[in-house]
Symmetry: C2
Subunit: 634 residues, 2 copies
């Protein structure tokens, strides 16, 4: 078989002729971003063939000069000879994911309404099961069931075979004294495990938010709802495409579908293991989970082919996932833990949104209408109250999560989350998460930078950096320009941290996608923007999003500050609520059942609105009365 | 490691010093009966050490002369030197099991009351699921659920993840035309599998009867209840002990427990595969099962340690087993098939008895009392009617199933099922199953022989063959005698088929155990024998049991022929009914819930009755007025 050698790592892969270079790269153990899912459109997999024969397709994205130098798109190039040497640029390789502690303490408690009646998804009961009495004719399982019914108000309880297997020994070890872990369901309970003796009555539950770009997990003590640990990392599926459509493309055969399934469960499991280790507990001691994610991510987690989501009439295979046990989907907690998947509404409004709404009063609002906005790789919106819930979605791209941007990064230590632009020199001053040396810009940093550049006149409403006034921070490179945020000397990466006009364009497209969706949804709902009582903003970046910056950019409507409520990762927080409370779980399914999904992708009106929103803050300045014109501070 | 070589097969096993010879024999791949489960009491594992050092314990069972010749009990002997040569007598090796077709046609139909409303455990529905309509916002699973509910009278239906995995493709293959296999439950249905297109509406179900000695399976077409195939074979656990107590002894560690579990599921699976092959279907196409067996057999099938069954207060781990799927217990039908385990009543009255009662009108009897008797390795008895159900059990040993008897065999082709003894010469004439060359005696043959010998005076009431009158068929061997049933020249084995006084003794002990249990149970229930309306007799041998022979032996009470009803394998037939009818499944659990179990083992009165029953027909001849005295025909 032809051997492919990759420089500079000298890693190799032996593959049959005809194999795509992307597959060979992966086989050699090199992690690589493939933002478009292998369609030849993102150019992220550009490599240089130094030696050997190959067949390549020109997708039109590579400049002529690059092709002359031997550059090809790995996803469009197949091995043709007996050996190849390929140079993989360092920028193509993806750095290792970092686990980040996002500040655990008190998150659930802060600023959140009551959960309703506490009835966590799992409970632990300390029982004494009476000894057998021959005249009763009861088996061990019968006596356990009788004792459990006495303790739970005669609720129905199922004792599955796996929980029965060691029952005889467990019951006899401490003369009937046992601790039973119970999964609670609306119609009855299920025994997860019976342990001998008196064990802690606390159960640890797991909340998971699976985003296209970011996966976050949180461990919660039940029934107290105390947050024990939170961890987040990039979804390792990123290597297979940066947005849901690319992932769906990538998943076109069963092996790749399984790869995506394994990648996402792998990311979740790494985070769970890391969080559990920080608490000194075994992952298997975690006894229940609630998972929220968009519809595509949930399909991939479940190993379901997501292709029908992409194609009209956009029909997902499942929206209300049946109750699962952890080992059915490869989540590394107690294998018989109940796993509740937050119910989705449509192909592009998933269970992350229904979970997020649990953190708001919107679904029960009686005398007003509120708007919920979750901004990630997709933007999802819900408008409504007790009487109606209308939702829609738009594709923002990964820019707000630091993806698809040259020096973008997740909102973790070292990320620039705030930028001040000096009006005179045009130079930037930055603040990073954890006050670490800057490594790149997260979404809020990007928004802060653009708002600053716009306000100081160093960037025009179309996102073009100033050519007339010259700043040492603005570098003109032919027809494009680039802004220096942090010079190599001050950065933690050893290189300049810059933002190109292409990056700026990505952010403007993202904000235009979101804002035009807001406008269209409100129009469909016949709600005027000034009638909105509360604008809830959720999303990983939302933790430090500055309202003024977001309004200046034209990302969110121009509303008084008191009407805006930032929720942070509402999907994760909502999953925690569902873990902790039966009332919230009921509410969750009620919300999903009531929500109506409106498809915007097919609406020509959406494109018009999108184009109009491609300026800062908007072509219709009347929509943003409080925003000063560009350079207005001078 | 010491190498053990076994003669005459020359098979070898390398085992550490200290290993029991029984384990080495098994490792060498030699199947061996170990009737007592390795307690050193049955003498079945007697082998001769030809060379090498060993340590052996004298359990007192081996004659002095045998020990002198180098014979030892393999279960009591451990390897001590560096190599051994051991001679394993041919009689110790167990012959390969034979699959036997027990005559399938019409069994369920013949002589059986109505099943009640037909609602088989699985149904197959041919559906057309409407295409998705975007405005409905329904997933594939939602539309399938809606279509199913329309067809099933809005019954609740669960669609598990595994059935969802290929749903998108399956629904689209023939434009929504699918065939759905549904497991029916009292509270709703569960989707087993969705197949594309219009497939046969017939489902094949499996009934299993797991006896200590014999395992029988039957494939049934649903909903028609037509019997498709029946197969039976020895339970391969026999190699680990011939009765339940020996098996429980054998299962003393986790590895051996697992061995027993694998042996019994292996026996079931061999039979299922054989039966399926005869129909030209794949075992995986079988979609539901009902399993009946005694409490110990069910514990072993489920991998539950049966030890608590053996020890006071005789508490099984489980009696009502939760609903299972086939892959949970390793039954090789469709992995997601529902498996219903017939509910047991106590440690010694299991689900085989509750299933057997389904074949009778006993539990609903209004104006009389009936008696149900299931004779196998254990005898189980139920007396009662609509108002009460009293049950008890006794240990008969395997003699009635052809076990534990030198030339005993299952009721399969070649088994002698009827013997005529010539009053003058004392010689036997035999009838075999399938008119094949005789291979041995099954239970009914043994009973027929003993009754014949008794009636003709060639055997006295204590089971002693005649010494005073000499017959060429009676051979005196020191203090014991032996009866020649078939000489080598006429047998299918190439050797004489004989019955020793030890064998006769085993049968008499077995009948005494059963008859004394009947007497004691009726006394406890305060029912006189002549008040019994019907005596139902179940058991593998019961198919051809002759009432007169059984009464002559004193196995069953002396009742008019019209009161006696032979059911054959009622446990298997009851399992078929539960497969076919929801009403019967409900009845099954109702019967189990109403039944009271009486422990006889601890009753001193039982021993007195047992001793009194050790004669033919009984020491109290008044109990058997219709039976002539021994030799009374002369």
């Amino acid at each position: 078989m032809p051997r492919i050698t990759f420089k500079p790592s000298s890693k190799t892969a032996d593959v049959p002729g005809g194999t795509a270079l992307t597959d060979a790269i992966r086989l050699a153990g090199i992690e690589m971003d493939m933002a478009c899912g292998g369609q030849g459109t993102c150019g992220k997999c550009m490599v240089r063939v130094e030696e050997g024969d190959f067949k390549t397709e020109d997708s039109g994205i590579l400049p002529h000069a690059a092709r002359e130098e031997g550059f090809v798109l790995a996803c469009r190039t197949a091995v043709a000879g007996s050996a190849m040497t390929v140079h993989v640029p360092r920028t193509v390789e993806r750095p290792e994911g970092r686990f980040v502690d996002e500040g655990d303490a008190g998150w659930l408690v802060r600023d959140e309404p009551e959960y309703g009646s506490a009835d966590p998804i799992v409970i632990r009961l300390q029982l004494r099961v009476p000894r057998p009495r021959p005249e009763e004719g009861l088996s061990d399982a019968d006596r356990l069931e009788r004792t459990l019914r006495q303790q739970t108000g005669n609720r129905r309880v199922d004792i599955p075979l796996k929980a029965i297997r060691s029952l005889a020994r467990t019951l006899r070890e401490y003369d009937g004294e046992v601790t039973v872990s119970l999964a609670r369901g609306p119609e009855g309970d299920r025994v997860i495990e019976v342990e001998s003796g008196e064990r802690p009555a606390e159960a640890v539950g797991l909340a998971v938010d699976i985003g296209t770009t970011t996966v976050a997990v949180r461990l919660v003590s039940l029934p107290s709802s105390r947050v024990l640990a939170t961890r987040a990392d990039y979804n390792s599926q990123i290597a297979c495409g940066s947005d849901v459509i690319s992932r769906i493309h990538y998943a076109r055969d069963a092996i790749r579908l399984d790869e995506l399934r394994i990648r996402v469960s792998g990311t979740v499991n790494s985070l769970v293991i890391n969080a559990a280790r920080s608490l000194g507990i075994r992952p298997e001691s975690i006894l229940g989970a609630v998972v929220a994610g968009n519809t595509t991510m949930i399909h991939l987690l479940l190993g379901l082919n997501p292709d029908p989501i992409r194609l009209a009439p956009y029909t997902p295979t499942v929206l209300r996932v049946p109750p699962l046990e952890a080992d059915e989907i490869g989540i590394a907690i107690h294998p018989r833990s109940p796993v509740l998947i937050s119910p989705g509404v449509g192909s592009y409004v998933g269970g992350d949104i229904t979970a997020g709404l649990l953190c708001t009063g919107l679904p029960e609002e009686t005398d007003a209408v509120s708007l919920f906005l979750d901004i990630g790789t997709n933007g999802e919106l819900v408008v409504g109250n007790r009487d109606f819930l209308l939702s829609c979605a738009c594709s923002a791209g990964p820019a707000f999560e630091g993806g698809g941007v040259e020096h973008g990064m997740r909102a973790s230590a070292g990320a620039i989350e705030k930028v001040e632009v000096d009006p005179g020199s045009g130079r930037a001053g930055v603040r990073t998460i954890g006050s670490a040396k800057p490594l790149g810009l997260c979404g809020s940093g990007m928004i802060s930078l653009l708002a600053g550049l716009y306000r100081t006149g160093w960037m025009d409403p179309a996102g073009r950096l100033s050519r007339s006034r010259r700043s040492p921070a603005v570098r003109i490179e032919g027809r494009r320009a680039r802004y220096l945020v942090v010079p190599a000397s001050d950065s933690g990466t050893g290189g300049d941290i810059t933002v190109s006009e292409t990056d700026i364009d990505a952010v403007i497209r993202a904000k235009a996608a979101v804002f035009s969706a807001i406008g269209l949804l409100l129009e469909r709902a016949e709600v005027r923007i000034d009638r909105i009582k509360t604008l809830y903003i959720a999303g990983g970046f939302g933790r430090v999003l500055n309202q003024e910056d977001a309004t200046t950019l034209g990302l969110i409507p121009d509303l008084p500050a008191e009407k805006i409520k930032f929720l942070g990762n509402a999907s994760l927080a909502g999953a925690c609520r569902a873990l902790a409370s039966g009332g919230q779980r009921e509410r969750l399914f009620g919300i999903a059942g009531r929500m109506t999904y409106i498809e915007l992708n097919t609406s020509p009106e959406y494109m018009d609105r999108y184009t109009a929103a491609m300026f800062l803050p908007h072509t219709d300045r009347g929509l943003f009365p409080s925003v000063q014109p560009a350079g207005g501070l001078r």
